[in-house]
């Protein structure tokens, strides 16, 4: 497919609006992405024509919905190159997926004194579930440190692993710095000790094609809303052998085969892990979003996003008083920066008035901020629909910010 940025921007209605009478420059894509019209239409269409409770009904609408829902599961399996669709569990988001694993894997496999390894580069969603598990089970939480340029210090991993290590949970891409971690190597090391690995893929999936078979990860988690799908939908990929052994996370309708008050027999995979009425409308829209991404192509996405990353980085570094936090060798289109003596909040508020949406603060990665001894940063994060003109607007506004705050 040819990459026609003008045509692509027309696909996203939210991009074509003014904010404070200025054209919106949306540079907060790591927080959530805007939705193409086809995704919005999929939701509208679902609720206008198909809406029905799935899996339970013999009637037409229910069968249509079930079919579309299960087709999505198949497509997600293909998208991730999973062995089969039983390995795909729909959740409400990446956080939900990680909590599911921490709770269910933890119930079965973590005992007092067992060790869990995460990294110092994690989002709170990949820290707190493990802390809860640690506290529940009297386990130990160990942290792989990061290097000064913002990479997970893989060489420290071997020192942390002991016979008590039961799981390693790390992110594929850092949401605050953009670091692409060498998860393949980490997984290899872990597997050489027979330790399973969970990958928090929230920030990878919109930018990098993910092949769970090649990675050989045990768990891979992501959120729909960060890959152009609606909120309220997430994915957990897990190797079948783990899902078979793990107890269910939640109890409720359709995750069971048979219920008496004494004993309940759980349904087979993947249903065992999907209690309650699923967000079928959201899941079906996720299918559209993934199709849209594949249609544009990860290579085109990378090309455009790299141009944006490189250009913005160069222009920012022309300012003596701007420092980019995190300089890993491989990164996605995220730039975290600070302006000397200026508070990130002030910078964000003023940029906002120029129509520019950025994120400021700790980005739910307080330990990363602690490492750099910063209260927070300004973060810009590009999607393929951003433009060089938007970078010019940003640079213009940064000049204004500096005038106002000095």
């Amino acid at each position: 497919m040819e990459f026609d940025i003008k045509a692509i921007r027309k696909d996203f209605p939210a991009l074509n609006q003014n904010v404070y009478n200025k054209p919106l420059v949306y540079l907060d894509n790591a927080a959530t992405t805007q939705k193409p019209q086809c995704v919005i239409d999929a939701i509208t269409n679902y609720y206008s024509k198909q809406n029905s409770n799935i899996h339970r009904g013999t009637h037409y609408l229910s069968q249509q919905s079930t079919y579309a829902y299960e087709e999505t599961r198949k497509n997600v399996a293909l998208f991730l190159n999973a062995d089969n669709e039983k390995e795909i569990i729909f959740t409400k988001g990446c956080t939900d997926s990680i909590n599911l694993v921490a709770s269910s894997f933890g119930k079965k496999f973590i005992k007092k004194g067992d060790e869990i390894i995460i990294s110092a580069l994690e989002h709170h969603s990949n820290i707190v579930p493990w802390q809860i598990l640690r506290d529940d089970k009297n386990a130990v939480l160990k942290v792989i440190p990061i290097t000064n340029n913002g990479e997970i210090d893989i060489y420290k991993l071997n020192d942390l692993i002991t016979p008590a290590t039961k799981i390693i949970a790390i992110n594929h891409v850092s949401n605050s710095l953009g670091t692409i971690n060498d998860i393949k190597k980490i997984i290899k090391i872990a597997h050489s000790y027979n330790i399973p690995v969970l990958i928090d893929g929230a920030q990878a999936i919109p930018h990098i094609p993910v092949n769970v078979k090649e990675l050989d990860c045990d768990f891979y988690c992501f959120s729909g809303h960060k890959i152009y799908a609606p909120m309220g939908v997430g994915v957990l990929y897990a190797k079948e052998k783990w899902l078979e052994e793990m107890p269910p996370y939640q109890g409720g309708g359709e995750m069971i085969k048979n219920v008496t008050f004494d004993k309940t027999i759980y349904n087979e995979l993947p249903f065992k892990f999907e209690a309650g009425t699923p967000n079928a409308g959201g899941v079906i829209a996720l299918n559209e979003a993934l199709k849209y991404v594949l249609n544009i192509g990860y290579d085109n996405i990378a090309k455009q996003e790299n141009i944006l990353l490189k250009t913005a980085t160069e222009k920012l570094l022309q300012h003596d008083d701007i420092k980019i936090i995190g300089t890993p060798s491989l990164k996605t289109s995220i730039i975290s920066f600070v302006i000397n003596k200026m508070h990130h909040y002030d910078v964000g508020v003023i940029l906002d008035h120029y129509g520019i949406a950025v994120r400021t603060g700790h980005h739910c990665t307080q330990p990363v901020m602690d490492y750099y001894n910063l209260p927070g940063t300004v973060r810009i994060s590009f999607a393929f629909y951003n433009t060089l003109e938007e970078i010019d607007i940003l640079m213009f506004a940064i000049d204004k910010v500096k005038q106002m705050l000095s």
């Binding site: 799935i54 899996h55 339970r56 013999t58 229910s62 069968q63 079930t66 299960e70 349904n267 087979e268």
Partner: protein, 148 residues
């Protein structure tokens, strides 16, 4: 008749009916003609799970290494569908059964029974039949090895 030939005949048979109601009437009729299910096999061991209605299925290998099936259901429609499967596959070799697919259901005009709802038994029934076929195939191979 081979399985594909039987499928063709079935498709032709159902093609006579334009109306869904006539199709279902015929399906129900076929179910009613299924030979009486052996009560020894009407228990949980032979129950196929994943159906809203109950389906019992029981199979064995005859002296010619063909798979013989008997089945029953408490639902008339499900019984009709299982009777199609019995007619198609019973008496065939495990290999042929393993090679078969469920497309004929679509062509018969009973597509709605193909959808992957858990309340729908067709997928579960086919899975169970293929499981039987696989078990018998392995058994035949073992016998051959032992004899060879």
């Amino acid at each position: 008749m081979s399985i594909p030939e039987k499928e063709k005949q079935l498709i032709a048979e159902f093609a006579q009916y334009d109306d869904w109601a006539d199709k279902y009437a015929h399906l129900i009729d076929l179910g009613r003609k299924l030979i009486k299910y052996d009560e020894n096999y009407r228990n949980d061991k032979y129950l196929i799970s994943g159906c809203q209605s109950r389906v019992w299925l029981h199979a064995f290998l005859d002296e010619n290494n063909k798979m013989i099936m008997e089945a029953d259901s408490d639902s008339e429609i499900t019984k009709g569908i299982i009777s199609l499967l019995v007619w198609l596959y019973s008496g065939e070799s495990p290999d042929d059964i393993l090679a078969a697919n469920e497309n004929f259901i679509n062509e018969i005009g009973l597509k709605e029974h193909l959808s992957p709802t858990r309340s729908n038994g067709l997928a579960s029934m086919l899975k169970q039949i293929k499981l039987y076929a696989l078990v018998f195939k392995t058994k035949i191979q073992q016998n051959n090895n032992n004899n060879g």
